[in-house]
């Protein structure tokens, strides 16, 4: 069965792009446009990995990650995906429990490598 990946991003273009890249690589992709939807999909779909934008209209990605971690499956790898490249953001992601940080714009091949690495390390 295909591994499930949850994408949480408010930009439709990024949701479409990540859907193409990850779907094309054989993953089953679910997408949410805001934090609340993301948390609900996380609980309903139990994804194997989450790709999470840092800046969402209703919530900050770091808080969403904490809510997901606190919901009972703390080992699901979370990769932050953001235009924010400041080292302080990396530090915040680290505190919120992320396993990696992908900067937008990204190289699709590089993104896939990171997703595969995170999934294999979590297995």
């Amino acid at each position: 069965m295909a591994q499930k990946i949850l994408v949480v991003d408010d930009e439709a273009e990024y949701r479409a792009l990540l859907g193409q890249i990850l779907g094309g690589a054989g993953y089953s992709v679910f997408a949410a446009a805001n934090g609340k939807q993301g948390i609900a999909l996380y609980a309903a779909q139990k994804p194997d990995l989450v790709l999470l934008d840092v800046m969402l209209p209703d919530m900050i990605g770091f808080d969403i990650a904490r809510a997901m971690r606190d919901s009972g499956r703390p080992k699901t790898p979370i990769l932050f995906c953001s235009v924010r490249s400041a080292a302080s953001s990396l530090a915040q992601g680290l505190r919120a429990g992320s396993v990696d940080y992908v900067l937008k714009p990204f190289d699709p091949e590089d993104l896939l490598k990171r997703v595969r690495t995170a999934l294999s390390e979590a297995a």
Partner: protein
């Protein structure tokens, strides 16, 4: 000005010793025992070089090297990885992530000083000395000039800015929204048509190299360096 060096070494004794030895060279060294305080202070301090132990609990040093290297602001930053393991696979991963040097512990302080000094000397001094090249394309940010197959090509301000972004980040997918936020301060109404128009014009001016500028329908653009 003496170079600023940030050292991330979880072992307190080893870190303090290395800090003392490096400081004797005149370098201003700050020692952190974990990644989080180092990252928190990074933007304010803007070090010239980072020496980081890669096998640290939490986010690995390799991921931090990759993230720091992927930020264009850190193009001149020197990144030296220290490892507990002697592993070719790990060394390949660390260099792929963007490290300039990989050294295994126990660290020979004299060798570390020689390598860091050499990297600091070889580092580009100013923007005038740097330019971007991809295949037959050459872009000089300081003079804002562009050459295609050794011939000068005139670009408008926006065409130049677009090409600059693409050449700095080959193979990365730029969504239209990202380009509009970056080049038109988020003015989507004006930006959508302007981005498409300038991409089309830029593609025409780049001749055969323009084929590398790919459209992802409904998403954005990517300058491919893979063909």
């Amino acid at each position: 000005m003496n170079p600023r060096v940030s050292l991330v070494e979880p072992d307190g004794v080893a870190g303090r010793t290395l800090k003392k030895i490096l400081a004797r060279e005149g370098w201003r060294v700050q020692h952190h025992r974990s990644l989080e305080p180092f990252l928190r202070r990074f933007d304010n301090r803007r070090p010239d070089a980072v020496i980081v132990t890669v096998n640290i609990p939490g986010m690995s040093g390799r991921e931090v090297i990759r993230a720091l290297r992927s930020d264009p602001k850190n193009a001149k930053l020197i990144l030296i990885a220290l490892s507990e393991r002697r592993s070719t696979t790990e060394a390949v991963e660390i260099f792929s992530a963007g490290a300039d040097e990989y050294m295994t512990k126990p660290i020979d302080a004299e060798l570390l000083i020689v390598r860091l000094s050499s990297l600091l000397v070889r580092r580009p001094k100013s923007e005038e000395e740097t330019f971007l090249r991809l295949g037959a394309l050459e872009l000089h940010p300081n003079s804002r000039s562009c050459r295609v197959e050794r011939k000068s090509v005139r670009l408008s301000r926006l065409e130049f800015d677009l090409l600059h972004k693409f050449l700095e980040n080959p193979n990365r997918v730029f969504t239209r929204g990202w380009l509009i936020d970056e080049l038109f301060r988020g003015d989507r109404r004006r930006g959508v048509r302007a981005v498409d128009r300038h991409i089309c014009s830029l593609r025409g001016k780049l001749g055969k190299s323009g084929e590398n500028l790919q459209t992802l329908v409904g998403i954005g653009y990517c300058f491919s360096a893979r063909r």
